[in-house]
């Protein structure tokens, strides 16, 4: 074996080690989150943690139910806004626009993805929250405000992945439908969207993951009250806000309880990721 071959083998080995960096980081994060978060969970009972509605860390009362419900509410609200608008943009970008229009809109959607979440939260504070307060009453800091801002924030995720999956379907499908005399819209509704279904579903699930995981924007506009919201105008605290609001001063079991909050969030995200991953890989397999 000459020098060059030896070097090549060394390189291959190094790259293999490097290639496992992402997996190793994921593993380390998982281990640390569970190591920090689970002891306190089991000490006070998993049921109390998940279903308890009192969060008084100073009195060792760690009920996460209001935050779990809060996260579900704002995420659902974000989907109600983000999914129709996201799909509309994706359909326009792929089916109903010229190349020139696309060249203007696509980068703008990408820019939407680049705007920092604190800026979204700030826009919520100065525009949306006062608007909701004046129009519908209530504190303004609410499920509604958080849902609208999160709905906007997940648009780029939904749009870009849906566009990719719509582009990926074979042109023969479209041509067949058009040749049978269908209009463009009929083709979109009956051929294109069903064919791109799994990719679109994956985009929605990933958007959901983004909405559940978003922190700074939600803290600024959701009001953060620890109670199950009664209406969409009530303030709400999500799992993510719970962590970020109290992390600065928490110690001991209180800090561990925040990590427990992180563990629940982590599990939800991993389930969503896995589902999205499975859905989109099934699509690939079908296509061969």
């Amino acid at each position: 074996m000459n020098r060059l071959e030896r070097k090549d083998r060394l390189v291959r080995l190094t790259l293999l080690v490097v290639a496992f960096s992402a997996v190793s980081i994921l593993a380390v994060i998982t281990v640390f989150m569970f190591e920090q978060g689970t002891p306190v969970m089991f000490k006070y009972g998993l049921k109390n943690f998940l279903a308890g509605s009192d969060w008084y860390p100073s009195e060792k009362s760690f009920g996460l139910w209001p935050m779990i419900v809060g996260s579900i509410y704002v995420t659902f609200g974000a989907m109600v806004i983000g999914v129709p608008f996201g799909l509309a943009c994706a359909i326009v970008l792929t089916e109903f626009s010229s190349k020139h229009v696309r060249r203007v809109i696509k980068p703008m959607i990408e820019l939407l993805a680049g705007i920092p979440s604190v800026v979204y939260g700030f826009m919520g504070v100065v525009i949306l929250v006062p608007f909701i307060r004046q129009t519908f009453g209530g504190p303004g800091l609410s499920v509604l405000a958080a849902s609208i801002i999160l709905g906007i924030m997940i648009l780029p995720t939904i749009i870009s992945i849906s566009v990719d999956s719509i582009r990926a379907i074979s042109p023969a499908y479209r041509e067949g439908s058009i040749a049978l005399g269908a209009t463009k819209w009929q083709t979109v509704r009956m051929v294109v969207l069903p064919a791109a279904r799994s990719g679109i579903i994956a985009s929605i699930i990933l958007g959901m993951g983004r909405a559940i995981g978003e922190t700074m924007a939600v803290i600024m506009i959701a009001g953060n009250a620890v109670s199950v919201p009664r209406s969409i105008l009530s303030p709400v605290r999500t799992l993510t806000s719970n962590i970020a609001l109290e992390m600065g001063y928490a110690a001991g079991e209180h800090r561990q309880a925040l990590f427990a909050t992180g563990v629940i969030l982590f599990i939800i995200i991993m389930v969503l990721n896995t589902v999205a991953n499975v859905t989109s890989s099934r699509r690939n397999r079908v296509k061969g």
């Binding site: 390189v11 290639a19 509309a88 920092p116 800026v119 463009k184 819209w185 993510t240």
Partner: protein, 278 residues
């Protein structure tokens, strides 16, 4: 009920377009709003003077430096790991169980919310390893967060280099590594740089992962172990605690301009890259 297909197409098209225009309008509104309110606060002084009195007075110089140093460190750590992973996935192996595990890991990492990275960075770097709230802790945490982006964009860039380039290199007796470093990487460079610039954008705007790892000190950092405050964190604190609205708008304007510059640079590079190979 059956509507005339042409009529229903017109209705659908109008509705979809209206929704798209509204989406774009929201974006344009956000940018104009921030710039209109923020640009008056901007001046050379604002950019080159340190904050005074928790940000009530002075400029944002130390937070600009904090942002640059933290981002640079994150890129410096994540780029070799990300590009290395991409090279391994594209050049040194074929699709098998190992690559599936690597890809799945990267995808999951991409989906993890930044607050989790913040928690993790806090417990590992700030407390367990004893780095404290510091540039080092923040940079490492950010590096982990942007790694998936760099892996994915590099992989796509490397994949789009035509196979013929590699074959020519091999036929001239080049080894695998020579081919990778002298043929594949130079050709894929614009695509790789695009991914790096995208990651710069994410790092600049990040708050949740940074505030718990790099802290929020307003002093100019003196070493890797100094705590620092990024522009995004500074903006968050100014706005949330109502310290100074004009300075909050000013900081937001700088952030938005930086993000726009990053996006335009990405766009231009990407276009050049696509043109080259299609």
């Amino acid at each position: 009920m059956s509507l005339d297909p042409r009529l229903s197409q017109r209705i659908a098209k109008t509705l979809l377009w209206a929704m798209t225009v509204l989406t774009v309008a929201v974006l344009v509104f956000i940018i104009f709003f921030i710039l209109r309110k923020g640009l008056p606060a901007l001046s050379l002084e604002f950019l080159t003077k340190n904050p005074v009195d928790m940000g009530k007075g002075g400029g944002i110089f130390s937070t600009v430096i904090g942002t640059i140093v933290l981002t640079a460190l994150a890129i410096l750590i994540a780029t070799p790991l990300g590009v290395g992973t991409a090279i391994y996935l594209t050049e040194y192996t074929w699709e098998n169980a190992v690559t599936r595990v690597i890809r799945f890991g990267a995808e999951c990492l991409a989906g993890i919310p930044s607050i989790i990275f913040g928690l993790f960075g806090f417990i590992l770097f700030v407390t367990k390893l004893g780095f404290g709230w510091s540039i080092l802790s923040g940079g490492l945490t950010l590096a982990f967060m942007i790694l998936p982006t760099i892996i994915r964009t590099s992989e796509e860039a490397i994949k789009s280099v035509p196979a013929a380039y590699r074959q020519v290199s091999f036929s001239l007796g080049g080894t695998k590594w020579q081919t990778v470093t002298r043929v594949v990487l130079p050709s894929a460079l614009p695509g790789i740089v695009t991914g790096i610039i995208l990651s710069v954008g994410r790092s600049i705007g990040e708050t949740a992962a940074v505030i718990f790892t790099a802290g929020s000190a307003l002093r100019l950092p003196t070493s890797l172990f100094s705590s620092t405050r990024t522009m995004a964190v500074h903006f968050y604190i100014l706005a949330r605690e109502g310290i100074s609205m004009s300075r909050a708008y000013g900081t937001a304007a700088v952030l938005i301009i930086a993000i726009m510059a990053v996006n335009i640079a990405t766009y231009c590079l990407m276009n050049k890259f696509i043109k080259k190979y299609s």
